[in-house]
């Protein structure tokens, strides 16, 4: 317990230090990168609850990330244009209200997708979650009201009481607070009685049913929770970029979130954050060296899957343990 806590704290400290260094050396781009890590790490933490702890290999979490993003984008654009959405109400540009709507929308979507897809398991589940995300992706592309293929620009970052969110460091702190909250929440859940049931679903659903606990209900609960967390990350991502487009719903996004979780370490608390750090670092570093950085990323991923199982945090924990 203690050893992995140390690793978790170290990961967060590293992230904060990087953002602070950006502030000190007047390098706002570094703050943006740190914010991106916090947001993607949070999206990964959401997926990790389902994928890592409960064994639900969802290949469609872009659906939640993207829906959260579009909720933020659509509400903000309506507020900007004073153009009513529904019964004369014209959206909002307050983050807190947007988060509430994002949670509701992604929770409902996860409930719907979960009700259908959790009836299946194994490969079927992987492909069905993928297909549902694609469905939303094509819908976003062909629905012209909110930009279609071109996406939607929100001009300004949404507001938060008492903060100037256009200031990079302030917005980073908002995202960091969310990330820390999500990690704290995850650790509470994993260690709770429900957490025991989650691991039982992953390892032995028949036994769990034999104890009188419905594996389906456990899975559905985790799936909804996981989708909501990833959805909030999506809403923050729209605010970071002040832009949202169908690419946040694409299967590359699902793959990317999954990659973060796996290279960071499946079923480790801060694994997705470490994975996001490595991913963004590679993108920046390799991307600076060659236009074809994803080629090398692919090769590295292959090597990780074939030879370094357990990801960064798993390897660190093992290394410290020995």
């Amino acid at each position: 317990m203690l050893r992995s806590n140390l690793v978790n704290i170290a990961v967060i400290v590293l992230l904060v230090a990087y953002a602070v260094s950006g502030e000190m050396f007047d390098a706002p781009y570094n703050i943006t990168l740190a914010t991106k890590v916090a947001i993607l790490g949070m999206a990964g933490a959401g997926l990790n609850l389902a994928l890592g702890y409960c064994g639900l290999i969802s290949f469609g979490h872009a659906a939640f990330f993207g829906l959260g993003g579009y909720v933020a984008g659509i509400l903000a654009v309506h507020a900007f244009n004073h153009q009513p959405i529904f019964l004369g109400w014209s959206g909002t540009n307050q983050m807190i209200a947007i988060w509430v709507f994002a949670l509701l929308a992604t929770g409902l979507l996860a409930l719907l997708i979960g009700l259908l897809s959790l009836r299946t398991s194994g490969v079927y589940f992987i492909m069905i979650t993928l297909a549902f995300a694609q469905m939303l992706y094509y819908f976003a592309i062909s629905w012209p009201s909110y930009g279609g293929e071109d996406g939607l620009s929100t001009y300004l970052r949404n507001g938060f009481p008492g903060l100037n969110t256009m200031d990079g460091m302030s917005f980073f702190m908002v995202c960091l607070a969310w990330l820390v909250f999500v990690l704290w929440l995850s650790s509470r859940i994993i260690n709770s009685r429900f957490g025991l049931a989650m691991q039982a679903v992953r390892e032995n659903p028949v036994r769990l049913a034999g104890l009188g606990v419905s594996p389906f209900r456990v899975k559905l609960t985790v799936f909804v929770l996981s989708g909501m967390i990833t959805g909030i990350a999506g809403a923050l991502y729209t605010d970071l970029n002040r832009f949202v487009s169908p690419s946040v719903l694409s299967w590359h996004m699902s793959g990317e979130i999954m990659i973060l979780v796996i290279i960071g370490g499946v079923a480790t608390l801060s694994g997705p954050v470490a994975g996001a750090m490595l991913f963004i670092f590679l993108e920046q570093w390799l991307g600076g060296l060659t236009e074809f950085w994803q080629f090398w990323l692919g090769l590295m991923l292959l090597l990780v899957v074939l030879f370094a199982r357990g990801g960064i945090i798993g390897t660190l924990n093992r290394w410290r343990a020995s």
């Binding site: 509470r188 859940i189 260690n191 709770s192 009685r193 429900f194 957490g195 025991l196 049931a197 691991q199 039982a200 992953r202 390892e203 032995n204 028949v206 036994r207 769990l208 049913a209 034999g210 104890l211 009188g212 606990v213 419905s214 209900r217 456990v218 609960t221």
Partner: protein, 249 residues
């Protein structure tokens, strides 16, 4: 005569051309160990699955204390009081012994959907878990990850989980499978202890144990109950000897 705790009436199950259960009826009375024996492939495990609700019967009905379990799946039958162990120890390998038993105990208390308080934070639950582990002879093994247990210890951990459900009926599928003579002896005395809690339907291949423990034995061959009675009646039943015991004993 009092109402049986568990009763199966004319259960049938086919898998294609294979008849797994053929008009199986049996009763289990309070305080009783009812052993189910028969050659491999006779349909014993399938029958347990039908009783536990993991496999739907083609026809027939199961009653628990007079209540029909028609249409209830495994989850709801477990909630109603049917606890079962599996032929291959069914535990959660990633959890510790203590967590395994806690999971079962909290499931029984309907406290699984609690998300915030630590599972290991409730003293009375922890004490209960320790008691169950003590009872199956796993005292002091609370913190050990179940994946690291020996084969015999896994069997006992599963019994502790089943015990923690405080069920109305135990369905035990070969609890002594794969154990040496010493382990068999320990489980045998453990089952004697368990029968105080609830009656038991016991599928077992170890004939010494079956004849020592059982109050009543049913013999299943090709999905059909060919005989049912006290151990002495079964021993002297000619049909049983021909179909089954003749080969083994």
């Amino acid at each position: 005569m009092t109402e049986p705790v568990l009763e199966a009436r004319a259960l049938n199950k086919r898998f294609g051309a294979v008849v797994a259960s053929d008009q199986v009826s049996l009763v289990l009375h309070s305080g009783e160990i009812h052993a189910l024996i028969g050659p491999n492939g006779a349909g014993k495990s399938t029958l347990l699955k039908q009783l536990a609700g993991e496999t739907a019967s083609d026809s027939g009905e199961v009653f628990l204390s007079g209540q029909s379990l028609q249409g209830l799946d495994a989850v709801h039958r477990a909630k109603a009081g049917i606890a079962r162990s599996f032929q291959i120890s069914s535990i959660i390998p990633a959890l510790t012994c203590e967590q395994n038993v806690l999971l079962s105990f909290e499931a029984r208390e309907r406290r699984i959907f609690r998300f915030f308080r630590p599972a290991l934070g409730n003293l009375s639950s922890l004490e209960a878990a320790s008691d169950y582990l003590l009872r199956v002879g796993l005292a002091g093994r609370e913190g050990v990850i179940a994946a690291e247990l020996s084969h015999g210890e896994r069997r006992r951990l599963e019994l502790a989980m089943v015990l923690a459900l405080k069920p109305a009926v135990f369905l035990l599928d070969e609890p002594m499978a794969g154990l040496g003579p010493e382990g068999t002896g320990e489980i045998r005395s453990l089952l004697q202890d368990l029968r105080k809690e609830a009656p038991m339907l016991l599928v077992e291949h170890d004939m010494d144990a079956v004849f020592a423990l059982a109050d009543r034995i049913s013999v299943l061959v090709y999905g059909k109950v060919i005989a049912s009675g006290t151990p002495n009646e079964i021993k002297s039943n000619s049909a049983v000897q021909e179909a089954y015991l003749g080969d083994d004993i």
